[in-house]
């Protein structure tokens, strides 16, 4: 923008010197481009305060809630009565969780092969190959894990 033009724009808008074109970004202070200034852009200015006031971002972002909503969608088995079928699923899931809590059935009702904390316990640092230990390998078909010797480098 030439000097003359700058003078003109100063005259037109009656405000202090506009930034020259080489600095123009998105809103460009133009009322016609107002829709670029959404609340979400403004909210960035509150992020720092928010971390201090309420803790790190991950502690209250919506990912866990969205994940939960995602898990509810397939629970709606009736197109005519979607909400009762949703209610039934939420209730039954909560009831089963409660029973798992009472009777410590978290593992028994997880429908997964039990976790083997024993992996690695056969290693023997005194032997000739201290970095060798016995671990489990898993495959999709085998329910019981096979034993094999791997290196734990």
């Amino acid at each position: 923008m030439g000097r003359g033009l700058r003078e003109v724009s100063k005259f037109i808008y009656g405000i202090k010197l506009l930034p020259s074109d080489e600095h123009r970004m998105y809103y460009q202070y133009s009322p016609d481009r107002l829709s670029t200034c959404t609340v979400t852009v403004h909210a960035l200015l509150h992020i720092a305060d928010s971390i201090e006031a309420s803790g790190p971002m991950w502690a209250y972002w919506a990912f866990p809630m969205e994940r939960y909503c995602g898990s509810l969608t397939p629970a709606i088995r009736s197109r005519r009565f979607p909400f009762p079928s949703l209610d039934r699923y939420i209730t039954e899931l909560a009831q089963l969780t409660q029973i798992k809590m009472f009777h410590q059935l978290q593992d028994a009702l997880s429908f997964k092969a039990p976790k083997h904390d024993s992996a690695g316990q056969f290693s023997d640092p005194a032997c000739e190959y201290p970095n060798r230990m016995i671990t489990y390998i898993y495959s999709n078909t085998a329910h019981r894990p096979n034993l094999r010797v791997t290196s734990s480098m």
Partner: protein
């Protein structure tokens, strides 16, 4: 209320004595029923199990269902609600026979004249579940995270327990209904810190129907498992078809429980083998902007005061019918602002007019107590507050700080997709004006193709494969946008803009986001983020 606490006492007794051994047939029922619920089997499919696996003795679905309910000791509370889901007939609406908002009848009468509610809100009480957690050795141990494992270091933010909203409560007397009680917030290591979340979700692709699930999180658990499936506490779902008008009435049963939990409920601590008073406090409420506006009873992101953290005034696009208000810092060239004497021409990003709790409550009460309708609307528009939220009676919450903006929607679902719409010239039909940020279609296609090509060599631990942003943008999830922005964007956008300054501006954003996502954030980091975003937004407006 008395009857209610009596019932509750019985339930808690039951919980304590029921925890005996399960019989083999009960275990068999539980296995089969867990399988049914996990896999969403229909009742018909469930009835086939005894024929498919003849050796497994599984009774009929009704027997299983009632047995599961009995063993859990958890029964949903059923509250009648409006057929259009305007409000729940609880709290102040308890005795109404018509919805106060849409005037629809609460009941339907059958031929014999027997009345039946037209719609029901199924609420699952959460106190029994918190009580059960302390009777389970594993969970009780895990719940010690808040008090024993987390160590607060001044100047470092690692978890919510380093935040102002939590730390301001420590050492303070619990206030219930204006009266201070004898106990202090979080003085017992077993006191539970809770977070509430809600969100509207559409069960059907082709229908506008929404349902609003309520979900509670237990912050006493370590962050690694806090949000796991078995640790979230669902409170039920506000049924659709519409967004509730009076969310507070649906939150009434939960509110009653929060109040009771502040006083303390009887529970058994399996670790110390003793009965104790379990207390809990709600410290956080979160979700996307429309959900939280509803919960806080604020007018939302399109209003005149669209921000829930500060009192910045929105301005409308001149000569347009759209009622959306936008919030640039600098609106000195806007015709309405130029004509007005009182309107602020430019807001200082370092000193925004923040909302305070006292002021918000005063404004909310003012709106509530105004009986003239026109005046009420005017006030609520001016303040951006529609009324007094039921949650404001829980003194463990701080308005508006306990309702922080959600990073996921803010950044991954809004900011980044909007930037890309700007770059591709699809943002609300806006040209680039005096800017030079738009890509040639060929350039953007090339970036899209490079995204897909890169996916094959990115280890899966980083996340799911991001789709092509040029051709398949609808397939992008928040997670995919985060991967694209943090790892791919900085490489793929390099030297693609016609002017370098847009790339630099984007990279500055990525740098700030990276700090926000750190597991440990120091006071200096917060300062960097504060200054960085001020500069970034000011540059964005240039």
């Amino acid at each position: 209320m008395v009857l209610f606490s009596l019932i509750f006492l019985c339930v808690s007794e039951l919980i304590i004595c029921v925890a005996g051994k399960l019989s083999a047939s009960d275990l068999s029922i539980l296995r089969a029923y867990s399988f049914k619920v996990d896999e969403h089997l229909t009742d018909e499919a469930f009835a086939k199990i005894p024929y498919a696996f003849p050796s497994e003795p599984v009774p009929s679905v009704d027997i299983c269902r009632s047995r599961v309910q009995f063993l859990s000791g958890l029964k949903p509370e059923r509250y009648d609600c409006c057929i259009n889901s305007c409000c729940c007939f609880a709290g102040e609406h308890k005795d109404r026979v018509k919805c106060p908002y849409c005037k629809q009848d609460r009941y339907i009468f059958d031929r014999k004249g027997k009345r039946k509610p037209r719609k029901v809100f199924n609420y699952l009480p959460f106190i029994p579940r918190l009580v059960a957690m302390y009777a389970n050795p594993t969970k009780a141990k895990e719940s010690q995270y808040r008090a024993f494992e987390h160590k607060h270091t001044p100047g470092k933010i690692v978890d919510v327990f380093d935040s102002y909203i939590y730390r301001r409560l420590l050492g303070k007397k619990v206030v219930i209904g204006g009266n201070a009680t004898s106990n202090q917030y979080f003085s017992d290591p077993r006191d539970v810190a809770l977070g509430l979340s809600t969100d509207g979700f559409g069960p059907f692709k082709r229908r506008q129907t929404t349902s609003w699930p309520l979900l509670l999180f237990d912050y006493n658990l370590p962050p690694e498992i806090r949000f796991h499936k078995d640790n979230r506490i669902p409170l039920g779902s506000i049924p659709g078809p519409k967004k509730p008008i009076d969310w507070d009435s649906f939150a009434w049963p939960a509110f009653e429980e929060f109040m009771r939990l502040q006083h303390g409920v009887r529970a058994f601590d399996v670790l110390s083998d003793e009965l104790f008073l379990l207390r809990g406090y709600l410290i956080l409420v979160f979700g996307d902007i429309p959900a939280i506006s509803m919960v806080m009873r604020m007018s939302g992101h399109n209003g005149i005061s669209p921000c829930r953290m500060c009192k910045i005034r929105g301005v409308r696009v001149p000569n347009s019918r759209a009622t959306t208000h936008y919030v640039p810092l600098d609106r000195s060239r806007h015709p309405t602002v130029q004509q007005s004497q009182s309107a602020i021409k430019k807001y200082d990003p370092a000193a925004l007019p923040l909302r305070t709790e006292a002021e918000m409550l005063r404004q909310a009460r003012e709106v509530r107590d105004t009986s003239i309708k026109g005046q009420k609307d005017q006030l609520s528009k001016k303040y951006g507050i529609k009324g007094v939220s039921i949650l404001s009676h829980l003194r463990s919450l701080s308005f508006p700080l306990s309702f922080p903006y959600d990073f996921m929607h803010l950044i991954w679902e809004n900011l980044i997709p909007n930037l890309i719409l700007l770059w591709t010239g699809e943002f609300k039909g806006l040209g680039e004006g005096a800017g030079e940020y738009q890509f040639q279609p060929k350039v953007w296609e090339a970036i899209g193709a490079a995204t897909v090509a890169a996916s094959a060599t990115i280890p899966s631990v980083f996340g799911a494969r991001p789709p092509n942003p040029a051709t398949n943008k609808s397939a992008y999830s928040a997670e995919a946008w985060s991967i694209w922005t943090m790892y791919l964007g900085p490489v793929l956008l390099r030297r693609r803009f016609r002017n370098q300054r847009y790339y630099k501006h984007f990279i500055e954003l990525v740098r700030l986001l990276q700090i926000c996502l750190q597991f440990e954030i120091t006071t200096e980091d917060v300062q960097t983020v504060r200054r960085g975003f001020i500069k970034w937004v000011e540059d964005y407006e240039k």
